[in-house]
Structures are given as C-alpha cells and as structure tokens.
C-alpha cells in the first residue's frame, strides 16, 4: 500500500520536482560560479572551480587598487548616466502622458499611434546616424558632442520616452476623472490638477518605468560603445568588456568580482519590483 502510494506520487509529482530541480541547477549554476569565483583564491580561469579551496578578498581589493582600471569610476558614471536619463525620461514621459490622457485636442489619437510606431524601432538601430550627428555636434557644441556623458544621456532620453508616455497615459486613464472634475470646480487649473492629483496617483507606474529605464540604460552596450572613447568616461558594461578582455583568463578573478559588484544592485532592484515590471511589460505589450 505504502509503496504504491509512493510510486503514484512519483509518477504524478516526483518527475515535476525532478524537472524543477534540474532547471534550478541550470539557472543558478553560472550565478553561483561567478559569486564563488569572486572570492576564490586562484590564479586564473584554468584553476577556477565552483567550490573554491580557499577564500580571499584580493579580487575585490585589486579592483579598488588597480589604478589602470578605474572600475569604480565606471560604476559611478553608469549610475550617473542611468539615473539622470531615467529621471528625465519619466518626468517628460509623465508630462506627455498627462496631455494624452486628460486633455482633449485634435490629433491626439494620431499622436499616440505615432508615438508607438516610432518606438517599435529600437533607437540604437540608427547608431551610424547618431554617431555622425554627434560628430557634427562636437564641432558646434563640444559639451554635448561625441565622447560626452551629456550627449549620451540625450540619446538615451529619446530612446524610450514614447514608450513611457504611452504606458503612463494608459495608467492615467484608470484614474477616475471625477477627481479632476471636482478639483476643477474648486478652481484648479491644469498644472495644479497634474501636480496635486494625477501625478501623485500615477506614482506606481512612474516608479516602475524609472526602474525599467534605469536597468535598460545600465545594461546598454552599443550606444555607449559608439559614444564613449575615453576609458575614464566608460560605463561599467563597456569598461568590463573592453579593458578586461585582453587577458581574459588571467583577469578572471577581477572579472568575477567586477561582475558581482555590477550585477547585485540591479538584480536586487529587479527582484524587488519584479511583479510590477513583468506585469507592466505584459500589459503594455498586449495593448500595443
């Protein structure tokens, strides 16, 4: 009796756990590997293994001490660029989203559709033109030309503003208009309604879109590679991949430590907002 129950359980559910555990190993192995390697005392990739023989902090220390590799500068640059661009992105997106959600004007529908159509094409696709455009801007306005963070931020700003406006508009549509009408009766104008009522209520989507935009910019490679030439101005994605690649095997410890430092905050941020991010993505895409 007992054994047949067990076989039944195995046939019904056991294999499910087998599959489940297999994919746990599949997903976690590379992550555990890089984490243990960042603390492991070994010379190079050849001697690396999942469970290290001895632990050390030397890889982290070398990131801090090696003056040829300005790792923490890259990290700072990336946080700076991603947060400024992300912030302005949601700010301008919220303004536009408000107009599309609340104001009645001719061309509203056309404008909305145009916004979505434009954003179907990834912004980096025209990187040749972006490069040549900023090459010319370098002559005219060097402070935002090629190789500057300012110029890169401008490009990132254009990259997802349409998408964000669209999603913010969708969220604002769910905020009852009776609220603004009541405020209007009390004599509030558009900007008061925006700042006091609609924008605060739209905060959840604004925060999520900021996080999504931030992570997107943090992980971008191609535009940063087209734009930035001075190693001191690199983003972390560019820095790790350009500077460490020459001696991949011997730098493995530093690469692992650099990866852990670069990935942890983003992973935590993502997991914290996971429900909203995936929810927002699916909702937005299905609508689009």
């Amino acid at each position: 009796m007992e054994t047949s129950k067990l076989t039944k359980w195995i046939r019904e559910y056991g294999w499910r756990h087998l599959v489940g555990v297999f994919f746990v190993v599949f997903s976690m192995y590379p992550i555990l590997y890089v984490i243990t390697n960042s603390f492991a005392d070994f010379a190079n990739l050849q001697n690396s293994k999942l469970i290290p023989d001895a632990l050390t902090l030397k890889h982290y220390r070398s990131l801090y001490e090696d003056s040829l590799v300005p790792y923490f500068r890259w990290l700072f640059n990336t946080y700076k660029i991603a947060s400024i661009a992300g912030l302005f992105n949601v700010l301008l997106g919220t303004l536009a989203g408000y107009a599309f959600a609340r104001l009645k004007f001719r061309g509203r529908r056309v404008g909305l559709i145009t916004l979505v159509l434009i954003q179907m094409f990834p912004a980096f696709l025209a990187f040749v033109a972006i490069y040549l455009l900023f090459f010319q801007i370098s002559d005219v306005a060097p402070f935002m030309g090629l190789g500057t963070h300012f110029g890169l931020i401008c490009v990132y700003l254009g990259g997802s503003i349409g998408f964000n406006s669209w999603l913010i508009k969708g969220f604002m549509d769910t905020i009852p208009t009776s609220l603004d009408e009541a405020a209007k009766v009390d004599g509030a104008n558009d900007s008061q309604i925006f700042f006091r009522i609609v924008a605060p209520l739209a905060r959840p989507i604004i925060v999520v879109l900021f996080v999504i935009t931030f992570i997107g910019i943090y992980s971008d490679y191609i535009l940063a590679a087209v734009f930035l030439k001075d190693p001191n101005l690199y983003t972390v994605a560019l820095g790790i991949n350009v500077v460490f690649m020459d001696d991949f095997s011997n730098e493995w410890g530093s690469i692992a430590a650099a990866s852990v430092i670069a990935a942890t905050p983003i992973a935590v941020l993502f997991l914290f907002f996971q429900k909203q991010i995936t929810g927002g993505l699916t909702a937005g895409s299905i609508k689009g």
Partner: protein, 530 residues
C-alpha cells in the same frame, strides 16, 4: 505679470540665444542637417511657449523634442547617409577638403647653389641658435627650431650688432659658438633644425665645415594646391597643372585622385553594391539567414523551455512552487552583459568548466572536446544555449501568467466530453495560450533580431567567415555586421554602406511588426470568442 510667466520668458530667451549661437557655427561647418533640426526644435519650442492656443503642446513638446532629435531625425539622417559615399577618405565636406589641401606645402630649393656662412650657437639652456650671414642687410639671427614648432611664430631678425666694424663676427657672452667638430658631433640633431625667415622660407644648415664657418641654404616652401573658388578649379603647384573634378568627390590632378576626397551623394550605389557585388552579397546573405535563424530558434527554445516548466509546475499539488519561481526569475534579473561574460568563462574551450563536465562524455564516445567559439557549429550552439538561459525566465513568467488566466471550466468541459489531458492541452490550452502571448513572442523575435549585446560580447561575431571582402563572422547578425562596417572593419569605416544595411534592417523590423499586428488580429478572430 506672474512670476511663472517671467521665468518662462527668461528660459525661452536663454534657449533661443543658445540656438542662435549654434546657427552660424553650424553654417560654418556645413552641418545642414544639424541646422535643420535646430531650426525645427527652435520653432517648436517658441510656438509652444509663446502662443497660448496650443495648450497640449506645452505638455508634449519637451519629451517630443528628444524623440524627434534623437530617434526620428537619426532615422531620416541614416536614410540620407545610405545614399552617400561617406566613408574613410570621404569624411569631410568639399569646403573642409579644400581648406586641408590649401594648408599643404611642398619645399623647393630656391637659389640653388647659393650658400652663405652659417654660425651655430647654444645658450645656457642648450637651445640652438643660428646666425646666417646672407649679405649686408641680412644678418639673420634667431632660435633654431624643429618642424614641429614651425607654427609658433619665431622669425629670424636682422641683427647688425653681431658684426664689428671690421666685418668680424662677435658673439655676445650669453651664447656659445659651436666649433665645426662640435657641430659634427651633434649633426643629426642640427640637421633637423631650421631658422624661420618667414612663413614659407627657412634656412637650414647645409654643410658643416671644420675650418671656417659652416654653410647654410635657403629653402622655401610653397603652397601645394591653390583653389580658385570662382572657377571651381584646383591648381597643383608641384606639377603646374589644373586639376579636374572627379565624379567620386575627389580632385584629379594629372590623372591621380587627390586624398582626402569629400562626401557626395552617390544615388543607390550602396544598395546596388549589396545586391550586385558578389564578395559583399555572399557574406550578407549568410548573415541575414543566420539572423532569422538565430532570432527564431532563440524564441522557440526559450518559449518551449518556459512552457514546459510552466506546465510542469502549474499544478496546485506541486509544492514549493513559489521557491521554484523565485529562483527561475534570477537569470532574468542579472544584467545581460554580466551573464554573457560569465558564460564566456564557463564555455572557454581550454579552461572552461563546461568542457570539464562534458569530459566523461567525450571519453565515452571517444571524441575530441568541443572547441567552443572556434568552430561555426559550436559558436552557434553557444549563442543559442546562452540565449535560452537568458530568455526562458521571461517566457516562464508570461506562460505561467497566461495559463492561470485560462478559465478552468473550458478544460473541465473538455474532460466531460472525454478528452484526454493531452488532447485538452493541445486543442484548448495551447491555442488560447498562443492568442494571449503571440504578440510577446513576436516582440521577443524582434528583440533578438537586433540582439547586438549577446552576439558582440559572447562571440564577437566569430569565428571569421573566410574569404569575405568585409570583416564578418559566422555568428554575426545584421546589426553586429553593420557595427563592424561602421566602426572597425579592415578597410576603414564605411558609413554609407552601413547606413544602407541599417535601412534594410529598418524595413525588416517594419515587416515583422506589421506581421505581428495582423497575426494577433487574426488569432483574436479565430480564438477570441471562445
């Protein structure tokens, strides 16, 4: 006037001042496209904030400007570039080329054979000075400089004080006159030095003499090319010929085209090259085929792994579902460029752990270990493996979500009608699933179609495709191929050609999106009313 109005006008004033500062600069650099975009933005900003009629624009304009300037405009500009020969050797505009050419000089030995006494001196800093005794009125003295320093104005002066009444040379105490032997000892250094007389004339040490004074000669350099803007003719002063205009954006002097040339529009030449040029078309079609395969199989693999997992675990009686789910999301949470880097380590053919694990299998089957990234098949497999790892969590999440939103009554009704679980899955659950997630699948396809980061960071497009005219590899997708054309590549940068390929990618993305739109509409019609 309200304070907000004043602030608005001040900001508008600052903005306009900045724009008007840019206009003459843009004109001087002939950046017509820049001028266009500056003009449109300035117009838009002013019309928005100066008139009160266009209220909604006040909210939309700030964001729209960035979209216009850095997304819409580059797309149009890219289209324009695809019709030019903008590439190494044709980067500048015609005006800039003429400026460059007019700066070039060539040297002639004037007054050949005419030599004069030249004295070499040194000051306490060991800097050299030349004194050239040309004639009564030209006793020229000055610091001797190398050609790097020619642009620093340091012309020689006539200094009669260096001679006494008996026409003997007198050296001031601050300077030391080098003897012939000392000059020979330093001759390699001295040969590099010149005394500048004026912009185009210099004096060099010609012959060092141990007895008596060394001799110097005058060299004068002339402008190599001169340009007559009225007739649009360039003259080559070395050959004394008028140059003709070539049809590729070059001057042609005596049968030879002059470098650098300037960029011109060349019509559909870049597109023609994509179609006609065998050495280019071959690699491009390889790349295009792989791009579609890569995007398709990436989505397919990730989707089926995600689907399989979701269906396996989506059962009320399976415990630890939450634990599984939170673990599967983790690969999705790591920035892609990090995961790719880790896989490069794991898959490393010489030291990587994956080959260590597979070693027993290699032994068992008695085969050579896989040389990851070195062969076409292993590189493609690696790309798909890594992309499955990166992509399955997303698919798992959306499939789980979609499964839970399918009404259970449908499945139960089919059970009552005698359907096996397998039948009800493939006939009911799966089609319904496709309806809700097919737009996401096509979105994922479009995303992978341009997944530059994965390809560029994992394989760099390699291994290289042998025999190709351009730098390209077996795992290159269209966007990474374009990047190589524009940025590196063995033959200099080819912006025009890269822009043409990009334009083609634009159209492909457009087609994919259009299909996505129609397909999801059709599916909705078929299954939407169940």
């Amino acid at each position: 006037m309200k304070i907000s109005t004043i602030i608005r006008y001040v900001l508008l004033g600052i903005f306009n001042a900045l724009m008007f500062y840019i206009v003459p600069l843009a004109i001087s650099y002939e950046s017509w496209f820049l001028l266009l975009i500056v003009g449109i933005i300035t117009f838009l900003i002013n019309i928005t904030y100066l008139t009160n009629r266009l209220k909604p624009l006040k909210w939309i304009t700030p964001g729209f400007i960035f979209l216009l300037a850095f997304v819409v405009f580059p797309a149009g500009f890219n289209f324009y570039v695809s019709f030019t020969n903008w590439q190494t050797g044709h980067i500048l505009t015609k005006t800039q080329v003429i400026e460059r050419l007019e700066d070039l000089t060539f040297s002639t030995e004037e007054q050949r054979g005419v030599e004069f006494d030249l004295y070499v001196m040194q000051d306490s800093d060991l800097d050299y000075y030349f004194l050239a005794d040309l004639d009564e009125n030209n006793l020229l003295f000055g610091k001797a400089i190398t050609s790097d320093e020619f642009n620093t104005i340091n012309y020689a002066n006539h200094e009669p004080s260096f001679k006494d009444s008996n026409n003997n040379i007198v050296i001031p105490e601050s300077l030391y006159l080098l003897s012939g032997k000392e000059q020979i000892a330093n001759s390699s250094q001295l040969q590099e030095l010149s005394l500048l007389v004026d912009k185009n004339t210099r004096i060099n040490l010609y012959n060092i003499s141990v007895f008596g004074a060394s001799s110097g000669r005058i060299f004068s350099s002339q402008q190599k090319y001169s340009y007559d803007s009225d007739t649009d003719i360039l003259y080559d002063n070395t050959q004394n010929v008028a140059c003709t205009l070539g049809d590729r954006g070059n001057f042609i002097c005596g049968g030879e085209s002059v470098d650098p040339g300037w960029r011109i529009t060349v019509g559909s030449e870049n597109y023609q090259r994509i179609i006609d040029d065998e050495r280019f078309r071959g690699p491009l079609s390889t790349v295009a085929t792989w791009t579609f395969q890569f995007a398709f199989f990436s989505v397919l693999l990730a989707f089926f792994v995600g689907l399989f997992l979701a269906v396996t675990l989506n059962n009320e009686k399976v415990r630890f579902q939450k634990v599984y789910r939170s673990i599967y999301i983790i690969p999705y949470a790591i920035p892609g460029f990090i995961s790719i880097l880790v896989f490069r380590g794991l898959l490393n053919p010489d030291f990587g752990l994956i080959n260590d694990w597979l070693d027993p299998i290699y032994q068992l089957l008695n085969i050579e270990p896989i040389r990851w990234f070195r062969t076409e098949a292993s590189s493609k497999a690696a790309v798909l493996l890594v992309n499955t790892w990166l992509g399955f969590p997303y698919m798992f999440l959306i499939v789980t979500g979609a499964l839970q939103s399918i009404p259970t009554e449908l499945i139960e009704a089919s059970k009552v009608d005698g359907a096996t679980p397998r039948q009800s899955f493939w006939r009911i659950t799966f089609p319904l699933l496709l309806v809700s997630i097919s737009p996401l699948l096509i979105g994922a396809f479009a995303y992978n179609f341009n997944n530059f980061t994965l390809i560029f960071l994992l394989t760099g497009g390699g291994p290289p495709l042998v025999g190709a005219d351009v730098s390209v590899g077996y795992t290159d997708i269209l966007i990474s191929f374009t990047y190589n054309l524009a940025v590196s590549g063995g033959r200099g940068v080819q912006f025009g050609l890269a822009a043409a390929v990009t334009t083609i990618i634009f159209f492909l993305v457009l087609i994919i999106s259009a299909i996505s739109f129609r397909y999801s509409k059709r599916l909705e019609r078929i299954y939407g009313n169940i």
